[in-house]
């Protein structure tokens, strides 16, 4: 995607001159987060204990009926399996030019950018789209598969590792723009996932080792649709709830979950930082260290950068959690507290993802349409009417992108402040302690709002 990014995402041909200095935008955005904190305290600050995180939800009988039919799963599975097959086939046999290969668009735009955003807006779409679960279920219907081994109690650490590997493929390998590599990675991951499900059990593997299932499970909590399942994991009731409040649900606590959420943030931030001049200077300065590694050097320095950033994010988050505990005056377990508050950062990761991938989704996604005429680049004319399609830039003017990103980032942080405050109400004994505990979180949110906006602004604006 490097070249694609070069064309559209990180360089819009013309840079946008902000009508006011960038710093003003950054401080205004930080100010909005502070004001939202005050409003949250005024209007939602009184509750403590389990009441603080109780949220309204309404049963949706129509959605329940639809969800209980096999059709959503059938349609979702079909889309998932066809998508996976398309990535592997076009990647292996299609054009080597990333601009002209559907595997690139399907993987990085339709799946990685759009499906994540949609799942945040709707709910966990991956539970229906997951192609590996669909293949497993189809095979299991005819040949009964029983797990051979029991998975050791590793939490979701394997999923953390897989997610990190996926992030490396996307951000540090420099090979994300090679359709062949993308196809091989997809095929390899398919084999590993199917084997894992067969050997350790479908749900065991998916819940602990399959990074995408874990990722979408977290993102789905943000969505307004909540599905309640019975002991056989069949949907019993579907509810509608306010956006984001699903993240208040208490789940298992563990550093694995904290690291996973932090990785969600740090990989996005690293993607943004990679496009800045600071990163270029950083890599050039450190050339003596990585240049001797030859072809692996660039991979090594980028991966080191990602690890460094993730480590920094994690440590800063933990330090702030210590402050939260200190101000909350509670001798609570750090890990439990960190897990509880880590989930309140998910809205930030989601909006950052939406903001960062905005132009991918609204402009570059259109690049797939003409490729449908000749997906493998063999000179076919399957859909001649689409061959001459030109992408529309109506929604991708630099000013539109900037303001969309500004609004998204601020809204995400405001939601995070709100969720964090409710979570504090649950954890701490009095409303006063809950409020005190949130000052460090507010500082963290304001800092992160301003930093992420600055990073996002670099490729677009010239107003800084």
């Amino acid at each position: 995607m490097v070249s694609l990014a070069g064309i559209f995402l990180h360089g819009f041909g013309q840079r946008y001159d902000l009508p006011a200095p960038l710093a003003l935008y950054l401080f205004a955005a930080g100010g909005v987060v502070v004001v939202s904190f005050v409003l949250v305290v005024m209007f939602a600050g009184g509750q403590v204990g389990p009441k603080a995180v109780a949220y309204p939800r309404r049963a949706a009988p129509l959605l329940t009926r639809i969800a209980q039919t096999p059709w959503p799963r059938v349609v979702g599975s079909l889309i998932g399996v066809l998508g996976l097959a398309a990535v592997i086939i076009t990647g292996l046999f299609g054009s080597t030019d990333n601009d002209r290969n559907p595997a690139e668009y399907l993987t990085w735009i339709y799946f990685w950018a759009a499906t994540v955003i949609l799942s945040g807006l709707v709910g966990n779409l991956w539970s229906w789209l997951n192609p590996w679960a669909a293949i497993y279920d189809a095979v299991n219907r005819y040949i009964r598969i029983s797990p051979v081994w029991k998975l050791r109690n590793l939490g979701i650490w394997p999923a953390v590792g897989t997610y990190f590997a996926f992030a490396c493929l996307e951000l540090t390998s420099g090979m994300a723009n090679r359709p062949l590599i993308v196809a091989i990675a997809a095929a390899g991951y398919t084999i590993v996932t199917l084997a894992g499900m067969a050997l350790f059990g479908r749900d065991e593997w998916l819940d602990h080792c399959e990074a995408l299932t874990v990722l979408f499970g977290i993102i789905g909590k943000f969505g307004p649709v909540e599905a309640e399942r019975d002991e056989l994991r069949r949907i019993s009731t579907v509810y509608l709830r306010p956006l984001g409040v699903g993240l208040l649900q208490s789940g298992a606590a563990g550093w694995d979950r904290v690291v996973f959420v932090v990785l969600m943030l740090s990989t996005l931030a690293f993607d943004g930082i990679e496009a800045t001049e600071s990163w270029q200077n950083f890599t050039v300065t450190l050339e003596p260290l990585w240049l001797p590694l030859g072809a692996w050097g660039f991979f090594a320095i980028r991966t080191a950068g990602l690890v460094l950033l993730t480590g920094a994010f994690l440590l800063i988050f933990i330090a702030f959690m210590e402050l939260v505990l200190y101000f909350g005056n509670r001798r609570a377990d750090l890990m439990t507290t960190a897990t509880a508050f880590a989930f309140t950062l998910v809205p930030i990761a989601l909006v950052y993802n939406a903001a960062h991938n905005y132009s991918y989704v609204v402009v570059q996604s259109q690049g797939l349409i003409p490729l449908l005429d000749d997906p493998l680049g063999k000179g076919w004319h399957l859909l001649p009417a689409l061959a001459g399609y030109k992408p529309s830039f109506v929604l991708a003017q630099a000013s539109t992108v900037w303001f969309a990103q500004l609004v998204l980032i601020v809204v995400g942080h405001v939601i995070a402040v709100y969720l964090s405050h409710l979570k504090a109400g649950e954890k701490f004994r009095t409303a006063q302690r809950a409020l005190l505990s949130q000052y460090p979180m507010l500082l963290l949110m304001v800092m992160y709002t301003m930093t992420s906006l600055w990073i996002l602004a670099q490729p677009i604006t010239a107003g800084g």
């Binding site: 600071s278 990163w279 200077n281 300065t285 460094l308 920094a312 440590l315 800063i316 210590e322 750090l334």
Partner: protein, 234 residues
């Protein structure tokens, strides 16, 4: 030989005063203060490392001229203070070990990850603040947020790792060591006070009785001229 005597005496003193095995976790507030101090001082070492990595051979020149003119003095003072603190801590632990005759331990060490997180964040914040102030004072362009984050992390993280390891090790032991030394000194003073008003002859004091233990006694008996020359032996 003398070491055995001292150890034996204080051990018995300790038992006599009910001191027992002293295992004390470092006071939370004191630990926070120590972390704060170490974070602020350690950030200067991180600053040095970051600049060394960034500017190579020119780092020293850059860090000692212009708005950085203050830096060598601050860095030397900070490193000196850290070194002095470390030596003092080690001395206390060493002395306590000498008194106890075994390792000074604590059953509750602070969490390494918490210490690392606090130290790193403090160091990074100090580094960022320092760079921003230097930029403002010097009228030069400020380092961008990614610059501060990347170079700051690269310089400060290794220092924070070492500092957190050292602080964890010392905090688990210094408090115990101080407690042990304090109790031994108190016990010694109490004994001395208890015996002094009665104007008891020095040789009859319990401390002396302890000193003249089996080893010490034999040790004292060996002093002086050979027994064959003593008048009493004639």
């Amino acid at each position: 030989m003398s070491r055995i005597v001292i150890r034996g005496n204080f051990k018995r003193l300790g038992v006599a005063c009910g001191v027992g095995l002293i295992i004390v976790a470092m006071n939370r507030r004191r630990l926070a203060l120590a972390a704060l101090a170490l974070g602020l001082l350690g950030s200067q070492a991180g600053h040095l490392l970051a600049y060394q990595l960034r500017f190579g051979g020119a780092a020293h020149q850059i860090q000692s001229t212009g708005v950085h003119a203050y830096f060598p003095l601050v860095a030397k003072t900070a490193l000196g203070a850290v070194a002095a603190g470390l030596i003092a801590g080690l001395l206390l632990v060493g002395l306590a070990r000498l008194l106890r005759g075994r390792r000074v331990r604590s059953d509750s060490e602070p969490s390494f990850i918490s210490l690392l997180a606090i130290l790193f964040s403090l160091q990074l914040a100090t580094f960022a603040a320092q760079e921003i102030v230097e930029g403002l004072v010097g009228g030069t362009s400020l380092m961008s947020a990614p610059d501060l984050l990347l170079w700051g992390t690269l310089g400060q993280l290794p220092v924070a790792l070492i500092a957190a390891s050292a602080l964890r090790w010392l905090s688990a032991r210094v408090e115990s060591a101080v407690g042990l030394i304090r109790d031994v000194v108190r016990a010694a003073l109490r004994k001395a006070r208890a015996t002094s008003p009665a104007a008891t002859p020095a040789h009859a004091a319990p401390d002396l009785a302890l000193l003249i233990s089996r080893v010490a006694g034999s040790s004292l008996a060996k002093r002086g001229p050979p027994s064959s020359l003593r008048i009493s032996s004639i």
